[in-house]
């Protein structure tokens, strides 16, 4: 029996939002109570972001009303939302690269000193240091944000929202970039905020979090509310069923590789100028090999050293038995494909078409004479679109209009066209919803089925456990251990990664 929880802090009634051709929100009602964590679930495009934008005054709703402590209000701008005590932790970082941590946390709310316009830097740094301490972050608050890694930037973003002492705190996938350890800390902070009476709206793609943190769950699908439930009265399967409208196995399963092929990648005592050393890794064709570890353990750095993007200072990298040196261009020619974590910045050209992206890395091979042949370009790209089942109305569609999962496929298609044989995926499912995740794994499975070799970096332990044939676990820039299929468990990885032998 749900208790009487009093008047909600914020109540959205019958909110609709239309875009040309799309009904982003359709009569959605949503209540937010003090001291509750309200989980908001839904696939990408289900309307979660639109709902938050309405809540934050970035979108004006076409229909419906918002009540604040039972009184009708209009939220027409972020400033309005802020006045009502609504703070949002954005998934796309809203940080200024060349301002320091403290300046970013208090952007728009700088501490005034007695001189008009003058900022009280000392006060800001003191306050910021307290917030970082709360989140277990040890950085100097004078560090410029562009020097921080993704996880640390996410923590700054969280500190920024916390600093607003909001009564409603909206978190859009706050743990997407965090390691397990950082996630634990964040959860502690959330529980404390809850006790202090803060209302929290929490968007997540991780079902485990929903049950660990949530007091109430709302599921959106295609802009409509399809479920409002209590965690004690539902199951992960039911939630997934509601989200996608059909039953999907959340734990992706594949046939593991019994007989690996030839040695595709071998690193011998590899060290780079980015803090890794003594790394020995082997990947054979037909295998998916995981590279696990906490954020900052050096996984991405291993990938970059193999690819030739960072300078190798020690040891060597062999691709199909041949030592390689030189830069990414050499690696690419030998069939190494790196699919980076930061897809939007490094993997695809968002403002170019699907076709342009698919052909980008293979122009020299496809058009040896130097000029572009539209017929060939079209044929090759259409073939890849069919093969990888990229959901796009046309090869000429701009990539930025595709979903995250389909953008990922475009990146893979690009490297397949370029003759990739060793694929290195860095966090391939970051920011991708449940349904598309299985598709990404199918894609990776298909790659190894065709005789490619895959090295996959992931922070999600379950992904490594379910998808990989075996895995290396990194800690502090070195390989802490190797787990065969039979020993590959979440606990086993964590023990190695965190040194709890």
């Amino acid at each position: 029996m749900p208790l009487d929880r009093g008047t909600p802090v914020l109540e959205l009634r019958g909110i609709s939002k239309l875009f040309p051709g799309v009904r982003a929100l359709d009569d959605v009602s949503f209540t937010i109570h003090a001291g509750e964590v309200h989980m908001l679930l839904g696939e990408n495009g289900a309307g979660k972001s639109s709902l938050i934008k309405v809540l934050y005054g970035a979108y004006a709703a076409d229909a419906g009303e918002i009540l604040h402590h039972g009184r009708k209000v209009t939220i027409a701008s972020p400033a309005d939302a802020r006045r009502l005590g609504v703070a949002v932790i954005f998934q796309e970082f809203s940080l200024v690269p060349f301002l320091d941590i403290a300046q970013n946390i208090f952007l728009g709310r700088e501490f005034a000193s007695r001189v008009p316009g003058h900022i009280d830097h000392r006060g800001m740094h003191l306050e910021a240091a307290k917030l970082l301490d709360l989140l277990g972050m040890e950085q100097d608050t004078r560090t410029k944000v562009h020097r921080l890694g993704v996880a640390q930037q996410q923590l700054v973003e969280i500190a920024k929202a916390l600093s607003q002492h909001a009564s409603v705190l909206v978190m859009d996938e706050p743990t997407a970039a965090l390691s397990e350890h950082e996630t634990d800390r964040l959860f502690k902070v959330i529980r404390r905020l809850k006790q202090e009476g803060v209302a929290i709206v929490y968007i997540s793609h991780r079902l485990a979090e929903v049950f660990e943190l949530g007091d109430r769950i709302t599921v959106l699908r295609d802009g409509r509310k399809v479920g409002s439930l209590l965690p004690s009265e539902t199951t992960p399967d039911e939630l997934v069923h509601l989200m996608v409208g059909r039953a999907v196995d959340t734990s992706y399963a594949r046939e593991f590789c019994a007989l690996p092929g030839e040695l595709a990648l071998e690193t011998i005592d590899l060290g780079s100028d980015h803090g890794i050393s003594g790394v020995n890794i082997e990947v054979r064709t037909g295998e998916i090999v995981g590279l696990a570890g906490l954020v900052g353990a050096g996984r991405t750095e291993v990938a970059r050293a193999i690819f030739g993007a960072d300078k190798v200072t020690h040891g060597e990298v062999r691709i199909f038995g041949q030592p390689i040196g030189g830069g990414p261009d050499v690696s690419t020619r030998r069939g190494v494909a790196l699919i980076p974590e930061n897809r939007k910045q490094e993997g695809v050209a968002l403002i170019r078409s699907v076709q342009d992206n698919l052909l980008l890395a293979s122009l020299a091979r496809l058009f040896p004479r130097g000029w572009f042949d539209p017929a060939v370009g079209r044929r090759v790209s259409v073939q890849k679109i069919d093969e990888l089942r990229i959901a796009t109305p046309s090869p000429l569609r701009l990539v930025r209009y595709l979903s995250g999962g389909n953008q990922q496929k475009v990146v893979v298609g690009k490297w397949l066209n370029a003759g990739g044989k060793l694929f290195i995926f860095d966090e391939p499912t970051r920011g991708i919803d449940v349904g598309a995740k299985a598709e990404i794994f199918n894609l990776i499975g298909e790659l190894v089925g065709r005789g490619a070799a895959v090295l996959m970096i992931s922070s999600e332990l379950l992904e490594i456990v379910h998808v990989c044939d075996r895995a290396y676990v990194m800690r502090g820039g070195r390989v802490a251990g190797h787990l065969r299929r039979a020993d590959l468990t979440e606990a086993g990885i964590l023990r190695l990664a965190m040194h709890h032998e």
Partner: protein, 321 residues
Amino acid sequence: MSETSALALRPGRLRAALAATPGVAYILLLMVVVFGATSKYFLSGANLLNVGMQSAILLMIALPMTLIIMSEGLDISLGAVLTLCSVVLALMLVRGSGLPVALAAAVAVGLAFGLANGLLVSVVNMPPFVATLGTFGMAQGLALAVTDGQSVVGIGETVQTIYAGGVFGVPIPIAFALGSYAFSHWLLYHTRFGSYVFAIGGNREALVLAGVRANLYHIGIYVFGGCMAGLAALLLTARMNSGHPTAAIGIEFDAIVAVAIGGTSFERGDGWLFGTVLGTFAVGVMRNGLNLLGVPSSLQVVSIGLLVIIALFVDGLKQRT
């Protein structure tokens, strides 16, 4: 062994310190050495003071230009606006206005152009190059129109004495430059406005989401440029002892050069104000040294272009190591 000598002797530290020193500092040093060796007069106190005096006006344009470029903008109208302000100042003085009124008029003209630039860039959302190309033409045309293309002479003794005079032994142009730098430094590093300059260039969306009226501050950046041009007009007019309708055309080019070699980024919202000071000196020293060596002014422009390329090349080299 004392701690200081330990620091000095450790090669790693030295290398780190060398790498942290921006390219413009090396270039400045190199130029001083070369010009000092080739011209006896170059290193004399009188000449160095001269360089400082000549650089003062440029610095007053280069400082706001730094903020404008940091906001991913550009203002190519500043030279023409400075010229127009100078002409207005001279005309007012000739017609008998007092210096405060004439200066206020000059600053008001600068402010108006800054406001126009800011509105076009932030509200109308025009590319800064195009917007300021338009106002450049307008300012230049107006300067020619109000003067009939002639110099405005007879501005009186007061203004002349300003250029030659000093406060507490510091020549007034130098005092202006120092004051402008101090103010700009305070503005960029110690005020909200300054933080928002970084934000507009680095992530404008973040600023809007923080509930800040970004347009207002964006306009403010260009207004700052216009006002500085108005103030600098006083020095320009005093130095020329007249208002000339083409007096400062092209100074915006030197200012952009000073900002660029001073290490300010054109696309990331990163800037370094003191680097602009060094960059301004580099341009000033280059022009002065080449003058002393008798290099014609057309070739000076070539060498300033070369200066940009070398400075950015040195910075690029350092980033790679």
